[in-house]
């Protein structure tokens, strides 16, 4: 610490200034433990905000229920002959879709959140600026877990059967969370770039619809025309849906699961630093 740092400006109760500096490294970098503590404090903030505004949980609570009922009963008969057969096809796919929808909500939420004055305070505090974004993602992963759990409960009610094991099912859930978290970085970047939350929604939908329906989530790509099949093949949502399906129903997992993880890693490596830089420079 420099000499100036320890100038004992005493305020209030007679304890010296600089309580917060004890753990700091010389160059002011934030250590791992401090970083985790900051992320914890900021995640707590996001949880308190949900508590204050319970309606913000509606999407997570309603989406799984509406999606399962809608897709199983509307498309089930047409796509798979009967609802029961379709449940085991579509539920693992819907797990993939859920992540995408929640990630989009992160983008529009962050747009509003980051306009508030408290972000300026965070930016002037001795914390890693990434911790503000990571805390957001931690809480959103929690929300995603709630949604996925509800989705599976709905699935079991409608007759979903696990042909493999609980561990396989958990692996599917984990894969969905990892991929969903990487999508959040995209939408955070978008949320920090465009001007309004509505713009995030609008742009998000434009990307979301083709990605969701041009995939293997709802129907087997073999029934689609060649050009669309080509698109579904490169669509990462197909990879995730395929991996989830194999994990639930049995079948080869390695290729689709590794492809999903590679996509998740690639997306995060590109968009996370951009998002943090965007957050840093936003004035």
């Amino acid at each position: 610490m420099t000499a100036k740092r320890s100038v004992p400006v005493e305020v209030g109760d007679g304890r010296p200034v600089g309580v917060s500096t004890v753990t700091a490294a010389h160059d002011g970098r934030i250590g791992l433990r401090a970083n985790l503590r900051h992320i914890g404090a900021l995640a707590r903030r996001n949880l308190m905000r949900i508590k204050q505004d319970p309606e913000s949980m509606f999407d997570v609570l309603l989406m799984p229920v509406i999606f399962t009922l809608l897709f199983v009963y509307v498309f089930g008969g047409a796509v798979a002959g009967n609802q029961h057969a379709y449940v085991n096809y579509v539920i693992p796919g819907l797990m993939a879709m859920m992540g995408m929808n929640i990630a989009m909500a992160v983008g529009s939420g962050i747009n509003d959140d980051f306009k508030t004055g408290v972000m300026d305070r965070f930016r002037t505090m001795p914390i890693a600026r990434s911790s503000v974004l990571i805390a957001k993602i931690v809480v959103e992963i929690g929300r995603m877990l709630v949604a996925t759990t509800l989705l599976l409960v709905m699935g079991f009610v409608l007759g979903l059967t696990i042909e493999t094991s609980v561990l396989h099912l958990l692996a599917a859930v984990g894969l969905g969370l990892v991929f969903g978290a990487s999508l959040m970085w995209i939408f955070i970047l978008l949320g920090l770039t465009v001007k309004t939350a509505q713009a995030v929604q609008g742009l998000g939908m434009l990307v979301l619809m083709p990605l969701q329906f041009g995939s293997s989530i709802f129907a087997k790509p073999t029934t689609m025309p060649g050009w669309l099949q080509a698109f579904t093949k490169v669509n990462p949502l197909s990879a995730l849906a395929d991996a989830n399906r194999s994990l639930v129903n049995g079948g080869p997992v390695a290729h689709s699961a590794l492809l999903t993880l590679a996509w998740a890693a690639g997306i995060t490596l590109v968009t996370a630093p951009l998002a943090v830089a965007k957050f840093r420079d936003r004035t």
């Binding site: 100036k4 209030g12 970098r29 900021l42 300026d120 914390i127």
Partner: protein, 335 residues
């Protein structure tokens, strides 16, 4: 261990700014600003909207980077040592920077944790500051239900958690009613009495006079005057006594009576015919008493009497010979 009290005569510079420049597109928000704040003192930065005050504060708190010039806070350079710098500053803006959806207590607890206090210390520090800023009763209510003054006090409390060596107050009372403004002033005065170094931006001469030791006047990104408050006041004229005689025809007689009496500073007395008032520069409280006593003894009827501080416009008029520019919109960057 009782820490040493910062001595006011320490002479160390808590803030040193040299040739600071920042432009936004075509507009020069800061155009070569120099200023210094001595440890344990309050520097008022006075200027109209668009003068560059907020840009200055945002650079000094590492929110934006200057295009040219250097700035050091407690010895840390804004460009090369932003992380160290953030450990020693506190910022209260004109827009409350607390989380509206969180309660006052949760806000302060969160900031304590972000400043690496233990859970226990963060809790006790939060309660201590809530108490000090008279927010204990509202501690559990979300900040969005607070009044403007309570929010500003919460914001001040939030800035105090880390016991910052240097505190920036960016127009701390803009938009507050007079009573709330006084509350904020009292808090700032307490912080200063406790040894904080403060850089205060304001549009109000009265606020600068209340709180600041020294004053830097800026306009269109440039420093146009600086010095101790009393020196500047001598330059721009300080308080004026305005007396309205009961009968407007008495005006010349009143002026003559004052001139004859030969009181201190009375030579500057003028009559404002349009207004129907006599203006006397105020030098001391004794002089005020003497004038009132004199007028009473001579039997003048007085319809109105009061002292008047120069407005920002009048300060600018005196310093630059022109009206303050109030048109610029770009000042509140990011606000």
């Amino acid at each position: 261990m009782k820490p040493l009290k910062t001595t006011t005569s320490g002479g160390g510079k808590a803030v040193e700014v040299r040739g600071l420049a920042k432009r936004f597109g075509e507009t020069k928000a800061l155009d070569g600003v120099d200023l210094e704040v001595s440890q344990g003192t309050v520097l008022g930065v006075l200027g109209p909207n668009g003068a560059g005050k907020t840009t200055l504060v945002r650079i000094l708190s590492t929110l934006i980077r200057p295009d040219a010039g250097t700035a050091r806070v407690a010895g840390h350079d804004v460009l090369t040592q932003p992380r160290q710098l953030r450990r020693v500053i506190g910022l209260t803006g004109q827009y409350a920077s607390v989380d509206e959806k969180l309660s006052g207590r949760e806000n302060l607890y969160m900031i304590g944790r972000l400043l690496d206090l233990s859970r226990k210390d963060a809790r006790s520090r939060a309660d201590e500051l809530l108490e000090r800023f008279s927010l204990t009763d509202a501690a559990r209510r979300p900040a969005m239900n607070y009044s403007g003054g309570m929010r500003r006090r919460l914001d001040l409390a939030a800035s105090m958690i880390g016991r910052p060596a240097v505190l920036y107050l960016d127009e701390p009372t803009t938009g507050l009613d007079p009573r709330t403004r006084n509350e904020v002033w009292e808090e700032v005065q307490r912080m200063v009495a406790d040894g904080a170094t403060v850089l205060l931006t304001t549009q109000y001469m009265e606020e600068a006079e209340q709180l600041a030791d020294e004053l830097t006047v800026i306009d269109r990104g440039r420093v146009i005057a600086e010095g101790r408050i009393d020196e500047l006041k001598a330059k721009v004229g300080g308080r004026t006594l305005r007396i309205t005689p009961g009968d407007r025809a008495e005006l010349p007689r009143m002026l003559a009576a004052l001139a004859q009496a030969g009181l201190d500073g009375i030579t500057g007395a003028t009559a404002d015919e349009a207004d129907g008032t006599v203006h006397v520069p105020v030098i001391s409280d004794e002089q005020l008493t003497a004038i009132v006593a004199l007028l009473g003894a001579r039997g003048f009827s007085i319809a109105g009497i009061g002292t008047h501080l120069p407005s920002l416009d009048e300060v600018f008029l005196a310093l630059t010979g022109q009206k303050a520019a109030r048109s610029s919109e770009f000042e509140e960057v990011g606000a």
